[in-house]
Amino acid sequence: MIKSNPLAVVLVTALFLCALASSWFSVWWYLGVKDLESMEYQARSLSRISAAMQSLANEAVEYGRRNPAIDPVLLQFDLKPRPAGTPTTVQPPLKPAR
């Protein structure tokens, strides 16, 4: 066949190489999409946690309007403005959304 039909041999070889390239591209595409999905899942998880924490802080502030007993906790985390002259703590701020 190599001698009788060299064109077919060339075409078959080209097809084989194309199949190899297709496999290579497909694998890399699959890995890329998988990475992307994993990162999106992480981002969604972190955003969900942040949003839930923010919402909880808002509810705690809301609860503080009805029951001032929670005020020390809110003050400790800077969720409530401190009265003038009160010493501040070194806790990092966790401010409610506005």
Partner: protein
């Protein structure tokens, strides 16, 4: 044909018992030139098929290559943002834990605050889950599991206030 076969039958060894019966072929006579032409046609057809397949394969390759490049570009583009988010989360994680612990302590003394905490058990399972045995918490960033914890009331949290 049958007539001539019948005439030759007495002379054939196939008619003798023990020999297979020779049957006349019903194929029309084909010349070598016609066979050569048919072979050439088949060869042309095969080559055309190969060319069509090659065009198809090249198109598929181009599509896959483009998709691969897009996916890799998106990954490279998103990775720094995700890393930044993770770093920010790590910075705030301890503060969030402290806040939850303070709220839980407060809720232990003021039971009317407990429903507020219970609402967030599903969204913050790593913070509000029931105390697990020591040494079961994995270090590093905790990605929340999708299975709800043993919260009696599972309600979605409201979105962050805007």
């Amino acid at each position: 044909m049958e007539h001539s076969d019948e005439q030759q039958q007495p002379n054939l060894p196939a008619q003798q018992p023990g020999f297979p019966v020779q049957r006349p072929t019903s194929l029309p006579t084909i010349t070598v030139a016609e066979l050569d032409q048919q072979c050439q046609d088949l060869r042309t057809l095969l080559t055309a098929t190969f060319v069509a397949l090659l065009v198809l394969a090249l198109s598929v390759n181009a599509f896959l290559y483009k998709q691969m490049r897009q996916a890799r570009a998106k990954v490279s583009e998103s990775r720094p943002a995700i890393q930044r988010l993770q770093a920010q989360y790590r910075e705030k994680e301890q503060n969030m834990k402290n806040f939850i612990v303070a709220l839980q302590t407060f809720a232990a003394a003021h039971r009317d605050f407990q429903p507020v905490l219970d609402k967030y058990r599903y969204d913050l399972p790593q913070f509000l889950a029931p105390p697990a045995p020591a040494g079961t918490t994995p270090p590093g960033i905790k990605v929340p599991s999708m299975t709800p914890t043993s919260a009696p009331t599972v309600q979605p949290a409201r979105p962050a206030g805007k």
